[in-house]
């Protein structure tokens, strides 16, 4: 398999599966993807989100709303680019 083909396959994977890493993945991107993956998993697993709701004494819907809101920018603004 030649290199270009491998690259195109990787690109395909990256576009299909959000969060797939590449050699130049920055720490920030890594963190953001990890946080978004975790948040989506919390919302999906109902026992988990209700556990949070009891700990914080909020309704489950409020916790879900807060978590989904956090997915927008889970790790703060991105760092300045150094080109």
């Amino acid at each position: 398999m030649d290199r270009s083909n491998l690259n195109s396959q990787l690109e395909h994977l990256q576009s299909k599966y959000v969060g797939t890493g590449h050699p130049d993945t920055s720490k920030y991107e890594w963190g953001v993807n990890q946080a978004r993956d975790s948040y989506a998993s919390y919302v999906g697993h109902y026992p988990m989100i209700s556990y949070f709701a009891v700990a914080e004494n909020e309704s489950i819907a409020r916790i879900k709303f807060n978590i989904t809101e956090k997915m927008l920018q889970p790790c703060g603004p991105p760092p300045e680019r150094r080109d």
Binding site: S15, Y17, V18, G19, V32, R36, D37, Y39, A40, S41, V43, G44, H45, Y46, P47, M48, S50, Y51, A53, V54, A55, E56, N57, E58, S59, I60, A61, R62, F65, T68, M71, L72, Q73, P77, P78, P79, E80, R81
Partner: protein, 1195 residues
């Protein structure tokens, strides 16, 4: 170690609830999901009760449910969005009472991932398409249609993806018969991700987007997109087509907005509760909503996060909306699902606590609650509405509570104890949240509803009920027999004695039967009395010197046994006379019991008679005219049979109307046998045995849960009944009874009349299938932990609520604001919740309960913003005769980021025979003390990551030694001898030993993998079972050799060793691993059956109770593992998740067999049962028996 997992009570929290006509009849039904189980509930609109019809474990996470109906059809289908990476469409088959999978389409990987659809489901209101969406990017639309044979078809998926987009909500817009439209709330993060200055983030808008499915082009397009409030969280579709203006209500924090293509935007604020303690900066969210369509109108009910319901009405002309109006409706518990039935009922599936079923009394049309209209709040388009409007909360005015379904969620802690000295231990569980919290005491047994108790003049020996004619719907007489008399009571408005019935009152009675069309039969020791409708009496006298000892009857046939063991047989002939058969039979011994097969409708004769004799046998005799009273088969028993009952139960395999005939045998040694009687040959096979109690077992035929059932009376009553294709045998939570009979009246269709001592009792059973019955004790705040005072048998509970005003704080704040606290104005916190305070504010109390009476004998509310988080009962060596309670608290605790001003360990002394507490002192500590334990006459405390030993001092606790080897925070502690097991909040379990010589605690072993421990239990000196936050259960064991070495090594040099992989010197072995599917909150090694084997009982956060039973033989392990493998193939889980990968969600399953899937063997068709049985070299009956035996062993 090899374990068998069995669910005793499935988690009963509901995360989704939908309404539909799933049976295809006019009756509306509910389908609810308990995360990994779906249940069909049928509300009875005449009685207002909700009945569970079918509950099925799907071995997956059900994340969304939706129902749809094809145009013109009368039956609703169920769509499930789960973690399986598949969309599944189910149909309910009412004849077989099963869910059938109609379609299953795979679209992605399994698991709750951010880009794999399953989180959101939206159906087109006309049932033409369904959208399934994920948290981010992916949305798929499936077209639903029917083929020529009117079967449901599903198209290939159409993509409506949009990358870099987070989805908050999806719903189907009602557009009548135009192209289906789905509305989504979306946020695009692509720009915010690129902008370091954060400007793009501020400018990011939340968009309401319409996706249109072009049915002609078979294509999905983004039709329309408009910005809405950034804090929008939910959409509710407004009826369209001929029913309304179409469009959606966008629910945002503090207000709701109406939006639709080419339509004006209208907003109205959400009314807030009027309260002086209100936090004005806090927004108010809508958490659930439901639309109710009536003949010519519709309204919406929305619920806020406080639990307040609002009625929203929309005024429109044609397609134009003029006004939306909102008003306060009533307050119920915060719901995860709301359903309004056409018959005027509201089902509230609560997030936490019991689910409620309400009846609408009014629709809130004409009361003085203020109504707010969008016309009064006309702002510029899209502008943030910043007006607050208020209402005054009040008790229910429009709704009336008619039924309640128990839910123990959230279950935070539990223990298995026998504090009240009963036959079996009780489970004490802390349930609920905030003011709705309870401590529930669970006892194994069905709940009994007592309807009447009446005293009798003497000690009765037996009781029967009878109808007067074959056509009667209800029982007319209750006949009570005494040792020398018989009393007849007639059932009417009241129960009264009657004398002119034709019954002989001066003799005891052996049996009573309604005979033929309209006659009555009384069998008494000297003869048989046949009473015709015209009160004409025919007597048959027992031969001289002999008495009738036993009798068995049905409506056409009578068999009596005379002293000495002779049987005489009678039949009702065509003219209604009772004629004696010419055949008599002498049995080998004295007859101790008789039973005749029940007479099926329309038949005149049945074939089998069962006779029990004192030579420890039961014989089956034929009643055929040609072979009258000839023996067919015989069963030898271990003791003298006391009682026999034959009943027909519907076949366990749902194949038409076939029934199986069971012979139930009660023995004098307290054992109940259930045997299958072959309907052609009369042979007995497949015997199931169960010990019921110390007394001889008496059996009675009843009708329960719609099927024939058997009541077995021993030292406690038991009921054997059929429910959802399984025969259950459960004890009743009731006193010991002596005799019983079924009781049917207008008020009570499935009742029982029974004798206990000198009393006649009438009772009924309503909640079948719930093996535990509960007694609740009200608490104030969310309970966290509890301990038992072992000397005085009292319970100490700590309760803590975040963001809540404590009583003192509340009073102070009200005084500051110039309000005097007035009792009568106080809202009931059980309905309305506690007054909400700011984050970082805590209300907490310590309570002492008496478990026998359920009464609270002492409460102490903590002041200075302290939160009680751990508790232990202990005695100190320095004051050995006193019992102390240690409570770990944190002051000014904030959760995110975690901070506190100080931790404290309070030491209280038990006073007043354990009924009260007295503060000894308070010791400040640097971190949150999350785990406390009695340890060798001292206190072992996990303070944050520090493990410390304290001794009691005069003014505070004195530090004795500490260990700082634990990585994060200690959450659980156990101790046996010098060994200490420490559970870390995210680094699993650590083994430590205390070395007295050096006064040192050394951690010498830990786990290989990180785990977020929630609870743990020491199974033995080397073994620990624990649960983690992701719903896994695991067992760790220290290798035996290592364990010995550590114990022999008194200096501790071996224990310390050299750290390995940044941890302790040694690693423990994992013995078992299993994904339970719900967060475990307590684990205990216990035995439920008196003298039974020990097993591990667990409780889970959403209210489940289950057990792990250790296998005893290698054969059993092989058998159940093979059965489990076959079950996975033959009955793949309904939601499409692979069973093996579900049970190995995070770590592959190890050393555990799933008994729940094994029990689904009973649901297979006969062919598949036989196929699996052949593979296992057994018969289906043998397999069923083995499965049942496992359950019996447990409970």
């Amino acid at each position: 170690m090899f374990l068998y997992n069995l669910t005793l009570q499935a988690p009963n929290a509901i995360n989704q609830a939908i309404l539909g006509n799933f049976s295809g009849t006019r009756q509306q039904e509910l389908i609810v999901s308990h995360v990994s189980r779906i249940e069909l509930l049928r509300p009875d609109t005449t009685t207002g009760k909700v009945h569970s019809i079918l509950s099925h474990d799907v071995f997956g996470v059900v994340r969304s449910l939706a129902s749809f109906r094809l145009t013109g059809a009368s039956k609703d289908y169920i769509v499930i969005g789960s973690d399986s990476g598949r969309i599944v469409i189910l149909e309910y088959n009412p004849a077989k009472n099963v869910f059938e999978k109609v379609h299953q389409e795979t679209f992605g990987k399994s698991g709750c991932r951010r880009i794999v659809p399953g989180q959101y489901l939206a159906t087109d209101p006309k049932g033409r398409a369904v959208m399934i969406g994920s948290m981010e990017k992916q949305k798929l639309v499936y077209i639903l249609n029917r083929d020529i044979a009117a079967r449901l078809t599903i198209g290939s998926p159409l993509e409506a993806h949009k990358s870099h987009t987070i989805v908050h909500y999806c719903t189907g817009v009602d557009v009548g018969f135009e192209n289906p439209i789905f509305a989504c709330l979306e946020v695009d993060y692509s720009e915010a991700d690129q902008d370091p200055k954060g400007e793009a983030l501020r400018e990011t808008e939340k968009m309401l987007t319409y996706y249109e499915l072009d049915l002609g082009l078979n294509h999905v397009v983004r039709k329309w997109s408009e910005a809405v409030d950034r804090k929008a969280n939910m959409l509710v579709a407004v009826p369209g087509g001929t029913d309304g203006p179409s469009g959606v209500l966008v629910c945002s924090e503090n207000y709701i907005t109406y939006k639709h293509i080419a339509s004006a935007t209208l907003s109205v604020p959400i009314p807030r509760r009027e309260s002086p303690l209100e936090n004005k900066d806090r927004g108010l969210l809508i958490v659930s909503g439901v639309v109710h369509k009536m003949k010519n109108s519709f309204f919406l009910l929305l619920q806020s996060e406080e639990g307040d319901l609002y009625k929203v009405t929309i005024d429109y002309t044609g397609d134009t909306v003029n006004e939306i109006k909102i008003k306060y409706f009533d307050t119920v518990s915060v719901a995860s699902g709301l359903c309004i039935l056409k018959s005027g009922f509201l089902f509230v599936a609560s997030e936490f606590g019991n689910h409620h079923f309400y009846q609408f009394e009014k629709l809130g049309d004409d009361d003085d609650t203020p109504e707010y209209s969008s016309n009064d709040f006309m702002g510029a388009d899209g502008e943030h509405l910043n007006i607050r409007v208020y209402f005054k909360p009040r008790p229910l005015e429009n709704l009336l509570l008619v039924d309640e379904l128990a839910s123990m969620a959230p279950l935070t802690d539990a223990k298995v104890l026998n504090l009240t000295d009963e036959d079996t231990p009780q489970i004490y569980a802390l349930c609920g949240r905030g003011a709705r919290s309870t401590m529930r005491i669970l006892r194994h047994g069905l709940e009994v509803t007592e309807m009447a108790v009446s005293p009798l003049p003497a000690n009765p020996t037996a009781v029967w009920t009878t109808r007067l004619t074959a056509d009667d719907l209800y029982d007319q007489y209750i006949v009570v027999s005494f040792s020398n008399a018989t009393l007849v009571l007639s059932i009417g408005e009241t129960v009264e004695e009657v004398t002119d019935t034709g019954f002989l009152a001066t003799t005891p009675t052996i049996t009573v039967q309604q005979l033929g069309q309209d006659a009555l039969l009384q069998v008494y020791p000297q003869g048989i009395r046949h009473i015709r409708a015209n009160k004409q009496v025919t007597e048959w006298r027992a031969p001289g010197g002999r008495q009738i000892v036993r009798a068995a009857t049905n409506r056409q046939q009578v068999v009596i046994a005379l002293t000495g063991g002779e049987l005489v047989y009678f039949e009702v002939d065509d003219v209604g006379n009772l004629s004696e058969s010419h055949v008599r039979r002498e049995m080998s011994g004295n007859v101790t019991c008789l039973s005749i097969q029940p007479l099926p409708k329309g038949r005149r004769r049945v074939r089998f008679l069962a006779v029990g004799c004192d030579d420890n046998t039961v014989r089956i005799l034929s009643l055929d005219a040609s072979s009258c009273l000839e023996p067919l088969s015989l069963q030898a028993l271990s003791a003298i049979p006391e009682s026999l009952v034959m009943i027909d139960m519907p076949d366990q395999i749902s194949e038409g109307s076939l029934t199986t005939l069971y012979l139930n045998i009660g023995l004098q040694n307290g054992v109940l046998l259930r045997t299958v009687l072959d309907q052609t040959t009369g042979q007995l096979s497949d015997t199931r045995t169960r010990f019921l109690g110390a007394r001889a077992v008496r059996l009675f035929e009843l009708n329960m849960a719609g099927n024939p059932s058997v009541l077995a009376l021993s030292s406690r009553p038991w009921l054997s009944y059929q429910l959802q294709s399984r025969i259950h045998l459960n004890p009743l939570s009731y006193e010991a009874l002596e005799y019983a009979a079924s009781f049917t009246s207008k008020q009570c269709l499935e009742g029982v009349v029974a004798i206990a001592g000198k009393e006649l009792k009438i009772f009924t059973i309503e909640k079948f299938g719930q093996v535990f019955n509960e007694t609740a004790i009200q608490l104030t705040y969310t309970p966290r932990r509890f301990v038992v005072n072992p000397v005085h048998k009292t319970i100490a509970v700590i309760e803590t609520d975040h963001q809540t005003y404590s009583t003192l704080e509340k009073k102070k704040r009200l005084e500051e604001l110039g309000f005097a606290m007035r009792e009568e104005e106080e809202l009931d916190p059980v309905v309305f919740g506690h007054a909400r305070s700011l984050p970082g504010k805590w209300a907490s109390l310590i309570r002492i309960l008496n478990p026998a009476t359920g009464e609270t004998t002492f409460t102490l509310e903590l002041e200075q913003n302290e939160a009680a988080l751990s508790v232990a009962v202990l005695n100190f060596a320095v004051e050995a005769n006193e019992l102390f309670l240690a409570v770990g608290t944190a002051a000014d605790l904030t959760l995110q980021p975690k901070s506190l001003s100080s931790g404290f360990i309070h030491i209280y002394k038990f006073v007043n025979e354990g009924k009260g507490l007295e503060l000894v002192h308070k010791t400040p500590v640097e971190e949150v003390p999350q785990a406390l334990l009695h340890f060798q006459g001292r206190l072992l405390a996990g303070v944050g990551k520090i493990l410390r030993v304290y001794d009691l001092g005069k003014r505070k606790l004195l530090r004795k030694t500490e260990n700082r080897m634990i990585p994060n925070a200690i959450v659980t502690l156990h101790n046996q001898g010098g060994r200490i097991i420490i559970g870390d909040v995210q680094e699993s379990l650590h083994y430590a030993s205390y070395i007295p010589a050096d006064n040192k605690i050394v951690t010498f072993a830990d786990d290989k993998s990180p785990r977020w421990v929630t609870c743990s239990a020491m199974i033995d000196y080397d073994t620990v079972a624990a649960g983690d936050k992701f719903g896994n259960f695991f067992v760790n064991r220290l290798p035996q050799k290592l364990s010995q070495e550590i114990d022999e090594d008194e200096a501790g040099s071996k224990s310390v060793g050299k750290g390995y992989l940044h941890g302790a010197a040694h690693k423990v072995d994992m013995l078992a691993h299993y994904h339970v599917g719900d967060i475990l909150t307590s684990l205990a090694k216990t035995s439920f059956v008196a003298g039974g084997r020990e097993m591990i009982l667990y409780t889970s956060f959403l209210g489940g109770i289950g057990i792990f039973i250790p296998f005893q033989t290698k054969e059993d392990i092989d058998f159940f593992q093979t059965l489990e493998m076959h079950m996975r193939n033959e009955m793949p889980p309904l939601a499409g998740r692979d069973h093996l990968s579900y049970r190995g969600y995070h770590v592959p399953v190890k050393g555990t067999v799933d008994g729940d899937i094994c029990e689904q063997y009973n649901l297979l068709s006969g062919d598949k049962k036989r196929m699996i049985a052949e593979e296992l070299d057994r018969t289906p009956a043998e397999i069923q028996k083995k499965i049942e035996d496992m359950r019996i062993r447990a409970i």
